[in-house]
């Protein structure tokens, strides 16, 4: 299967939109090569602003540009976009409900050898708690492209979590991307795996492994972490009576928490979470870290088996 990085879906969408919409402006904080926003800069240098190593200012300038009618896309690493500039995001952008779009690249453990300081494992928790903010976690290149286009069309602040490593392209041009709606990737009866980002591919592989053992697993892709598709989650709880969540992120405050909140309020069923648990990341090769932190298909399989034994 073809592999491409979500950060490149982001920049490709920016370039496409930039050609027809003069209000699209792009900002970066000395990481334009890594975030790939430099591709936009090459095409539209007059609509690109590099603020230097200054992420708080990055979001502040984007806020100002939005107030002047522009549609700013601010790009930097996830850890700085969601962490360093969090209060600018909260009070300036979300509280004022400004039309600012944020592309957080190098999210998650796949950032690899740079180590814990650069691996954003808290950004779902940090962003989904903010009123007015829409949070997208695309699972592949095409979905990232659609998420970026959707972000420009939505009014209000949007955060898009992007990654450095190439991921298998699971969706097609025709796959719909509807903000706030989960995407059914595979039908199943015995359990539902609810995943986002890089873990959607692992979830599909896990479902294939489970099939061989006569366990029928449904797979749902939550590309919109906020607003969250409660209906698809409640339906999964009701119909399959067991859920496993999977994310390249902390389970506390992340997708695991978000899904649990819906499940316990509406239709309590056993639930297991795959993700990091109260832990910083560490240096290592990306794939090696996925195994080290138990984020692989086999780990999802193990969680499914565990959750099934807990079914009434």
């Amino acid at each position: 299967m073809e592999k491409k990085a979500t950060r490149h879906g982001y920049s490709e969408a920016l370039i496409e939109m930039g050609a027809t919409n003069k209000n699209i402006v792009v900002l970066d904080a000395d990481l334009s090569r890594s975030t790939s926003s430099e591709l936009f800069k090459k095409k539209f240098p007059e609509r690109f602003f590099n603020v230097g190593v200054a992420e708080q200012n990055l979001l502040g300038l984007a806020a100002g540009l939005s107030l002047m009618g522009k549609i700013p896309f601010a790009s930097t690493y996830s850890v700085f976009a969601s962490g360093r500039a969090w209060e600018q995001l909260r009070t300036t952008i979300c509280y004022s409900n400004l039309n600012v779009k944020i592309g957080g690249s190098h999210g998650g453990i796949l950032t690899g050898p740079d180590g814990a300081s650069h691996q954003a494992l808290e950004e779902f928790a940090l962003t989904r708690v903010l009123p007015n903010l829409t949070v997208f976690v695309p699972c592949d290149f095409l979905e990232a492209k659609k998420a970026t286009i959707a972000a420009a069309e939505l009014k209000g602040p949007v955060y898009i979590r992007l990654g450095r490593e190439p991921l298998p392209v699971l969706t097609t041009q025709e796959t719909p991307f509807i903000p706030g709606e989960g995407l059914l990737m595979k039908e199943g009866r015995d359990v539902t795996i609810i995943a986002c980002g890089s873990l959607v591919a692992e979830a599909l592989q896990a479902a294939a492994l489970l099939e061989k053992e006569k366990i029928s697993a449904r797979v749902i892709n939550i590309h919109s972490l906020k607003p969250l598709d409660e209906n698809i989650i409640i339906k999964a709880a009701r119909e399959t009576k067991a859920i496993v969540t999977a994310e390249e992120h902390e389970i506390y405050g992340g997708l695991g928490s978000a899904v649990s909140e819906v499940v316990v309020k509406n239709y309590p069923v056993p639930l297991e979470m795959v993700g990091l648990a109260d832990s910083f990341g560490t240096s290592g090769a990306p794939e090696e870290l996925m195994r080290f932190f138990h984020l692989k298909d086999v780990d999802i399989v193990a969680a499914v088996k565990k959750v099934i034994t807990r079914k009434g």
């Binding site: 590099n50 230097g52 814990a116 650069h118 290592g284 080290f292």
Partner: protein, 269 residues
């Protein structure tokens, strides 16, 4: 060490840096090599420390605010005996204490974890304040990048260090004139650097950052200055010592492959 010995030591540190990065396959040579001479003089001639007793309370403190230059810090620590030299080759590997950016929970000699730019000078200022409070003669040194100066927190720290007249604090700016996306002036101009620090009540010195005579004189003057923190703005060359890396922005955050590692090591013979 005399100047000839320091030069020899700096060459060893540069060799260590290239070897570690070659083995790691990723990391940041440019800023590690530009700050090697400043770091060598500091670690081998200036800092009071006991490598076998890294937590000795009387030690001078050093903070690598530009944490991506971890290789130069690790090389200095290893050469001084904080940990075995062989360990350098585990840089950035799973399970290694030598994380991509310095982790104080993992390495003796690292005072605080860094990697997110702009944070170190505040911590150094806090340490200097603590030392003053204790009436101790501990001195605190902090290395920052010139691109890093674009972070607002740097200037909040500068304001507070000037306000508290922390003459036990010395900030070193590795002025290699490059950041990731290009020349400092073109990306986001931070010049004039000396005037900015002076406006916050600092003593500012501008030196050649590959001239040991000037480096040692600057450290000496900083330690004798009263009532003011000192900033040493050292003009350096990014990638210094390796012909194909010198002043090349592409060598900010890229490790040499096998062939280029060998070539670089040959230049350092």
């Amino acid at each position: 060490m005399d100047i000839a010995q320091l030069e020899e030591q700096a060459k060893k540190i540069r060799q260590d840096i290239i070897k570690m990065l070659g083995a790691a396959g990723s990391g940041h040579p440019g800023g590690s090599l530009s700050s090697t001479d400043l770091m060598t003089a500091l670690f081998f001639n200036i800092l009071r420390q006991k490598p076998k007793e890294p937590r000795w309370p009387g030690r001078d403190r050093f903070i690598l605010s530009k944490g991506h230059c971890a290789p130069v810090l690790y090389a200095c620590l290893a050469e001084l005996g904080y940990f075995p030299i062989e360990q350098l080759l585990t840089l950035r590997k799973l399970g290694s204490c030598l994380q991509g950016h310095p982790s104080c929970q993992d390495v003796a000699g690292v005072e605080v974890s860094t990697g997110s730019l702009g944070m170190g000078l505040s911590v150094a200022t806090g340490m200097a304040l603590g030392a003053k409070f204790d009436q101790s003669d501990v001195r605190v040194y902090c290395l920052v990048g010139d691109g890093e100066l674009q972070e607002g927190q740097i200037w909040e720290a500068a304001m507070s260090a000037g306000h508290y007249r922390l003459d036990n604090l010395c900030c070193i700016v590795d002025n290699n004139d490059l950041q990731i996306d290009g020349r400092i002036k073109e990306v986001m101009n931070v010049y004039p650097i000396a005037d900015k620090f002076k406006a916050f009540g600092w003593q500012a010195m501008e030196i050649e950052g590959h001239d040991f005579k000037q480096i040692l004189a600057a450290y000496d003057r900083a330690s004798k200055t009263k009532e003011k923190p000192t900033v040493i703005i050292a003009r350096t060359i990014k990638g210094k010592g390796i012909s194909f890396m010198e002043d090349q922005e592409e060598w900010h955050g890229k490790a040499p492959n096998k062939e280029l590692t060998a070539k670089a090591l040959k230049e350092l013979e």
